[in-house]
Amino acid sequence: MAAATPIGCGRGAAVSCIGAGVRIVTCTSVYHPRVTAPVLELRAIAKRYEGNPVLKGVSLTAAAGEIHALVGENGAGKSTLMNILFGMPVIRETGGYEGEILLDGKPARFDSPQQAMAAGLGMVHQEFMLLPGFAVAENIKLNREPTRRGLLSRVAGRKLETLDRARMGADTRAALDRVGLSIDEWALVAGLPVGHLQFVEIAREVDRSRARVVIFDEPTAVLTESEAREMLRVMRDLARGGLAILFITHRLDEIFEVASRITVLRDGEVVATLDPARTSAVHVAELMVGRPAKVAAAHVVQTHGADAPAPVLSVRDLAVAMPGERVDGVTLELRRGEILGIGGLAGQGKTGIANGIMGLYPATGSVAVEGRPLPLGDPRAAIRAGLAFVSEDRRGVGLLLDESIELNMVLTALEVQGRFLRKFPISGLRLANRKAVRAHAQAMIRRLDVRCTGPAQQVRRLSGGNQQKVCLARAMTQEPRILLVSEPTRGIDVGAKARVLEVLTELHLAGVSLIITSSELVELRSICDRIAIVHAGRIAAVLPPDAPDAAFGLAMAGEQDLAS
């Protein structure tokens, strides 16, 4: 079903191969316009972050008048690809990229978003890039204002020309009409409803007369259903008007509504480029998720899953106000000795659950640990109740980066549980028992195989994987009955990944109940007893690890009805 993306250059550009895959494009002077000629072509784009490949030779094209949908799980490389395309500085700062971008058949390389925009690329951002204190027209025309020569500019140059406000308004009106937005062009952006902001962004991209390709990065993520429908209509209109659109989204139904082609990215590679007429949502979901490498640690599932022991943690109607990861009424139970996985796409609220239980963000609902209610919003109470947490934000929340490994490991136990202290009548003035701390740290370093120069090494100097081991060691030092681990393997190398998963399994065998939140579904499926998939702040489905790939994919896209 996967149609190979045509590689090559339309309109009379000759492609020749010289040596080991080096492609030189020679544009001849003859120009043959063709309707299907790609406006934009990416060839074998590859990118590494600190040695980890995140894009492994991605090629795709976008032709005028088409809506090319780009789908993939978080971390599949979509954002990186768009950052490269748009000349974001982060790409250059992290060592540039390999491969080629062709715009109208000519090689292009953008060092800044300004260059990309000047060349005819536009981007509708996921988070709004608008100035709230400026009017709609001022936002749309920002830095491209039509100007008139005035008295001052005659003396002091172009910078002081007068704004042609009438033309600004007229242009903006036209652009707003094109996207079907009837608001006043001089209204302040600050007062507009969220749904309108997205359309203002699009109007801005449309207004740039030179825009040839517009990237829509999850434009419907914050829109209501009717707004989203309107948005899709606008996209279709724009494509009909001759724009090439790259459409990034997680919502499969939208893709099938508007896309003329679908490219599925997984682990930095193009898995397939599909024709929506000849494929199904289930198939796309399957391709996105990918088959788990192996369902390992099956013994874990068998020893505990079946006899369904009493719940150690019951969560009822939990709502958590975690910015970007809102939880909106989650009910779940963690059984004794179980590993419960929480999966789902970024922004859907999966990480909010553990943060809410630990009291790190304002939350409502009820949480009970072994039948006893746990006050929400009080991390100390959660720790005292036997919970430990490994945060998804390792460097921000999980570690004291400038302190030693050993202090990081014992701090919570020392502070909340009063351990590793010498005797003294006043509990607050008890001296830390350095010997005990050091011995414990050394034991943990051995157990977790932390690669370091010693327990006194500064945590900042450790690699990501070893930092994660320190986080895990801190949680283990608390000797919890329930361990909440978020993104245990994010951004760490393969060796550390294996050791971290091993240790989690060891803890599980030692009787600790675990909730593992992860974006890596494959991993969850390899060690969890059950996996809850979160969508739009709620549990979309609770699935066994051996459920079909499509079931996971559809639950993640919030279409569990299709799955059943």
């Binding site: 630990m358 790190l360 921000g396 929340v397 202090l407 500064q458 900042r460």
Partner: protein
């Protein structure tokens, strides 16, 4: 910023203190350091890195001053005596800055808040006619008791103005000193030795402690060696408080305060309230300031009221910074090294420079060093 041999206190790293001054937060001893051929250049560099450039420069300056003093046959033991007295006198005021930095409040320019508490203690005990150890003890005790609510309020204000602690502290200190000036004038003190002779109300600007507890601590166990008299009691008290402070930051409470500063979000996840630890740090700093001024007054022999405390935070801050502290990290070693260097310079510079240049530039030198050092520390970016 952890000292390698300091397991628990981390940033406390007393043993590593001065060694880190030159490169705060920098990598601990980069491998290039250990390269085999230690030529004279690399040896100087290593020394510069270990001690920090400012300390080397000021240390060198100090040595030059002493050399000139010896060469011009000045009274060197006298200079050393004066230096020791000043070090002992100012030590606690410098130490008072430490809890604020460790608690995340930055350089405590609001030190005058603690100072006016201590001064009130002195005045009350003097007004009651208390003498000797009882008078000194009462002054310290009253100062400490006052400093707790004052420090709490100071902390509360700093928590509302997070990120501008130093600015807010400076102006709060100024305001408090000015407010207290009114208090000194109007407060119902009637001891004729304290109030203006004319009118009989309002405290004098400078109150003598002779006959009360003038130099009481300085003279305690004092001795003379090679013509240098040592203010043993005050030095011992300073040393004792240094030790206590170092120990404090190894206790559960102290570690909590420092950890909350190091990463407030980590602290929150560990059930620690950053707001509370900051308030605690403000109280500790204010209390030490109150104690510090009582010791200062005792050694100086006078209680200075009205605008005298206005700029007292600045030399103390300069001392700490010269010792190698930064806005976000300081150790007891920084306190000691800084106090010794800065106070010795002040003592030696005046007579030596007047000998050499036939004029008084020592006050100018003091201001240049003091304010230059503060400026230097503020402009220095913490390298990560």
């Amino acid at each position: 910023m952890s000292g390698p041999a300091d397991p628990v206190t981390g940033g406390a790293g007393e043993d590593a203190g001065g060694a880190r001054g030159g490169a705060p937060g920098g990598p601990p001893a980069p491998p290039a350091d250990a390269s085999p051929p230690p030529g004279p250049v690399s040896r100087v560099r290593a020394l510069a890195r270990a001690a920090g450039v400012p300390r080397l420069v000021i240390g060198f300056f100090l040595i030059v001053l002493f050399a000139i003093a010896v060469a011009t046959r000045m009274d060197v033991p006298g200079l050393l005596t004066d230096s020791l007295a000043r070090i002992a006198r100012n030590g606690l005021l410098v130490l008072a800055l430490l809890p604020a930095i460790r608690g995340g409040l930055g350089l405590n320019f609001g030190l005058p808040l603690g100072i006016v508490c201590g001064l009130t203690g002195c005045v009350v005990s003097l007004n009651a006619g208390m003498k000797g150890w009882a008078g000194l003890g009462a002054a310290a005790l009253i100062g400490l008791l006052l400093s707790i609510p004052v420090g709490w309020g100071y902390g509360a204000i700093l928590n509302r103005t997070r990120g501008q602690e130093m600015m807010v502290g400076t102006y709060l200190g100024f305001a408090a000193v000015s407010g207290m000036s009114i208090f000194w004038l109007l407060a119902p003190f009637h001891n004729p030795q304290l109030v203006w002779a004319l009118g009989g109300i309002g405290l004098r600007t400078t109150l003598s402690l002779s006959g009360a507890y003038d130099k009481l601590l300085d003279r305690f166990l004092a001795f003379e060696i090679a013509g240098i008299s040592v203010p043993t009691g005050t030095l011992l008290l300073f040393a004792g408080f240094c030790a206590l402070t170092a120990l404090f930051f190894r206790t559960r409470w102290g570690i909590t305060i420092a950890a909350a500063r190091a990463n407030p979000r980590f602290a929150r996840a560990a059930g620690i309230s950053y707001t509370a630890t900051r308030t605690q740090a403000a109280i500790l700093s204010t209390a030490l300031g109150a104690l510090g001024i009582v010791v200062f007054a005792q050694s100086y022999g006078f209680v200075q009221l009205y605008t005298a405390p206005l700029y007292m935070a600045f030399p103390a801050v300069a001392c700490l910074l010269i010792g190698g502290a930064t806005v976000s990290n300081a150790t007891v070693l920084h306190v000691i090294v800084g106090t010794v260097l800065f106070q010795s310079i002040l003592t030696v510079a005046l007579p030596v420079t007047s000998q050499v240049v036939q004029g008084d530039i020592s006050e100018t030198a003091r201001l240049v060093i003091q304010n230059g050092m503060i400026l230097y520390a503020l402009t220095r970016r913490e390298k990560r």
